[in-house]
Homo-oligomer: 406 residues x 2
Amino acid sequence: TINADRLWSTIIETARFGGTEKGGVRRLTLSEEDRQVRDWFRAACEAAGCTVTVDGLGNMFALRPGKDMTKPPLGIGSHLDTQPTGGKFDGVLGVMAALEVVRTLNDAGIETETPICVCNWTNEEGSRFAPAMMGSAGYVADLPVSDILARTDADGISVGAALDAIGYRGPEEVGAQKFSGFLELHIEQGPILEAEGLPIGVVEHGQGIIWYDGRISGFESHTGSTPMHLRKDALAALSEIVLAIEALAKAHGPNAVGSVGEAVIARPSRNVIPGEIAFSGEFRTPDAGILDALDKALQAQVKEIAARRKVDIRLDTIWRKEPTHFDAAMTGAIAAAADRLGLSHRPIVSGAGHDSFHLATVVPTAMVFVPCKDGVSHNELESAKPEECAAGANVLLHAVLAVAGG
Amino acid sequence: TINADRLWSTIIETARFGGTEKGGVRRLTLSEEDRQVRDWFRAACEAAGCTVTVDGLGNMFALRPGKDMTKPPLGIGSHLDTQPTGGKFDGVLGVMAALEVVRTLNDAGIETETPICVCNWTNEEGSRFAPAMMGSAGYVADLPVSDILARTDADGISVGAALDAIGYRGPEEVGAQKFSGFLELHIEQGPILEAEGLPIGVVEHGQGIIWYDGRISGFESHTGSTPMHLRKDALAALSEIVLAIEALAKAHGPNAVGSVGEAVIARPSRNVIPGEIAFSGEFRTPDAGILDALDKALQAQVKEIAARRKVDIRLDTIWRKEPTHFDAAMTGAIAAAADRLGLSHRPIVSGAGHDSFHLATVVPTAMVFVPCKDGVSHNELESAKPEECAAGANVLLHAVLAVAGG
Ligand SMILES: NC(=O)NCCC(=O)O
Ligand SMILES: NC(=O)NCCC(=O)O
């Protein structure tokens, strides 16, 4: 079994890179804080005997040799970037547990048959640059590398420039590092395992995702002297869209969700009717047919709202990720590892997106979930107990041993 | 009659202070641009033979002597500050027309019985600092001067500090400059005069106003993995409030209006459910009873929304201005002046707030409206024709002669 204290201390130690007053982490992808944690990760992997390479999107690969070097390694890991006000576990647990697996194998003097590769994927969060899971999207060629490098953040800085700024545009060709399979440990980020008192979730599916960028153009005018029937109020139009997305998701429940995360009024003033608003929105559901239906219904409602309110509304689909179905042999290995350790488990659907969704399109892939407090994530209050993290890391270790042979 | 070309050229000349690319003006109160236009105004008034004083709130008074210096002067004027993306006429026309009245009297060698005082009131717009009509509120002691000086903008800069920064905290005691009456020319900022093809509106009433500051506290969590029924989405709650304000105003129409002008999500991210939003809102109607009813209904709906959505909502009334009823003798003088000039007119209610609302609580006061293009104001596209401005200034001149005696 892994060293639970050592695992926990790496989580706490790295949480200082971008650590916030409320105990959370603000470590936006390709920021100075991201550089710091990347430097730490590289040094820790090299100290554990791995060879670290970086590809042209900043994805980091730490290779631990195996007996059969003709086999592509088994990839394990997750991401080290966080939300603007994120927690200490989302992504971090998966990377630190993968490092802990390597350290444990070193301590035990175990050489696996298949090599092992600890991964840190660039921009999983999708908050600074859209879409999410960007580094792994480039890795599996879901998006062209040139397209990714040109994406910009709110300040107009491109992914390429941000990589250069922190010195993490690596020489390795994107996609050149092959894997024989991929395993990722993550907190659930939802309430199910905690509610059912289960330490382990075996992730069998991942939700499909649609992301929208929207812009509403009404007309700025005086809030006091413009009669109600002559207004083109962009905020009132947005309000209808927000409630429409919510109602559509609820109507297709229990497994559909939808929300608007960002909305910015241009040139706001108390006594000016909002004339222009930019916003982002999304739907998620494990069922591709429902994703289609939600999208179609929203587009129709937006058209109706625009016509009735005489405002212009652009609603662009900037990302669509089809639902993910993980590999049965890999999920079986995870369930068997949990059984061997006496940890009860259940199959589960991932509500959040993960790099494993992309990896699953090219190699046998699966994920392990552990509970987190109140199901809360993307919040500085995100929390998981040391023993919960250790349980997940042990399942990862035993699944790795089963898959890589040791 | 006034010199229409000279009036127009002062409007165009001063529009360069804060002039925008789209032909509008961005001259927030007590900004550097406001200092520039204030310096211009002081110099122009002095060149026209007036003595300029400034009070402790930056209100500017340019006194033209009359035959009977024991009488307090007749105040005329408006304000020179603008919205963040305002036009060239809102406020400016009233000040420039008042200056033009003085210049015309000078050219004609007319000394009025009652002295005349051209006024530029501080922060009429209420966009940088709330509430609106702030300088005149201090003048009539509707708000204590010390309270006004302590109000802060979004950057935490106080009114007092902003006055000092541009050198316009004057030595005159606020309220010391007395008036025998007050007259203000303004663009209508609404569509009625244009629609009816009338050059002049005689403003008989002003709408009552309630301004709110609100804050919604929900809970930030993951947009993908948080089930719909466990969300505390601050943006969805705001959306209901925006639509409630709109529906309440419409239900109490045709003379009630309501809207939300500002809304800012704290720490926004695409895949984080908005946890905290600050917003501003308002209702206006000429009927105090309806203003009460709107306020009461909104407070009840907000309570219901907060309880149902399990979010905290604070809704603070930061300003309430009762409906204004202008002086019959003063409105009569305006109507008579228009008749004398052969300009058709109608009584009208002011949708927007004006410094005259405050002056009306202490001296006989009235306002002249002229049409503006499409009724549009608080927009860079705000527009009025030279001949429309001149017609209003001529009515102001003749009303001044009637009231001040000349
Ligand atoms: N796991 C996780 O929080 N991913 C962020 C990307 C998303 O699901 O929106
Ligand atoms: N006249 C005018 O636009 N006043 C601004 C204050 C307000 O009515 O909101």
